[in-house]
Symmetry: C2
Subunit: 146 residues, 2 copies
Amino acid sequence: MDSDDGSRELGRPECLRLLATAPIGRIVHTRQALPAVVPVEFGVDGDGAVLLRIAAASELARALDGVVVAFEADAVDAAARSGWSVLVTGRAAVVTDRAEAARLERTAPASPVPSREEVFVRIEPELVSGRELVGGRTRYGLHASA
Amino acid sequence: MDSDDGSRELGRPECLRLLATAPIGRIVHTRQALPAVVPVEFGVDGDGAVLLRIAAASELARALDGVVVAFEADAVDAAARSGWSVLVTGRAAVVTDRAEAARLERTAPASPVPSREEVFVRIEPELVSGRELVGGRTRYGLHASA
C-alpha cells in the first residue's frame, strides 16, 4: 500500500531480493535490557534466512542464540531521497547440525582469515517487511508515516 | 577498551563527532510489540541530541513522542573491514516549545519542500556508545564480541 509520504511497502520476494544486494546489515537485539545494534556482514540463504558467521566464543553468538532478533539492511541516497529498507524478524540460532554447517560452509563465501573457531548463525525470516523510499518530502524524514 | 575481534570502543565526544558526519541514521523503536527500524535523515544538536524533522501527523511522530528509543548510524566498508557504528539511546520528544522550535528552525537546514506541517523530534543523548571497526577477522562478523 502506498502511503502519502513517498514510501511504498514492498512484498516479501522484493524484500529478499534487495536484502541480498546489501554489503552489510544490522542486528537489533537486547543487551542488558537496552537495545543493541551491531553492523555485520551477512548472507541470505535460499529460504530467505539471514546468515551470519561469527566467532563461536563471542558474546554476540551467546546473545543471539535462541532469541528473536531483528535484522535490518538499507540503501538510502539522502540527496536523492530514494532507497529502500528491509527488516527481517525471527528467531536466531547457532547452527549446531554438522551437515547443515557443512552445507553453509560450501555455499557461503569462505572466511578470508579463519583465525579461530567460527559458527554460523541463522535468523529465520519469520517476518519480512520493507519499504521503498520514493522521494520523501521532509528534510529529515526519509521514513514511513503509514 | 580494545577487544580481540578488531573493534575498539569509542568515547562520547568521538561518537558525537562521527554521528554528525553520517547522512542517515536509523531509529529503533517498538511498534505493535515488534522491533521497527526506520532510516531517517537527521541532525545533531549542540548538546549531542539527535534531531529529526518529520510530519506532525505521521504515525512515527506519535510513536516516538515520550518514549525511549535507540538511534544508530554507521559507516562500514565491508571490503576493507573498517568503519564505525554509534548508538544513541534516550527519550524522544516532539518539540512543542515555540522558542525552541524556532531555534531549531534557524539552526537546522531548511526543509526543501515544506509541503505540510512538520515537527522537530529530539532524542536526548542519555547513553552514547560506539565502536570503531579496525579489521574484523571473520567473513560475516564486523561486530563487537566484547
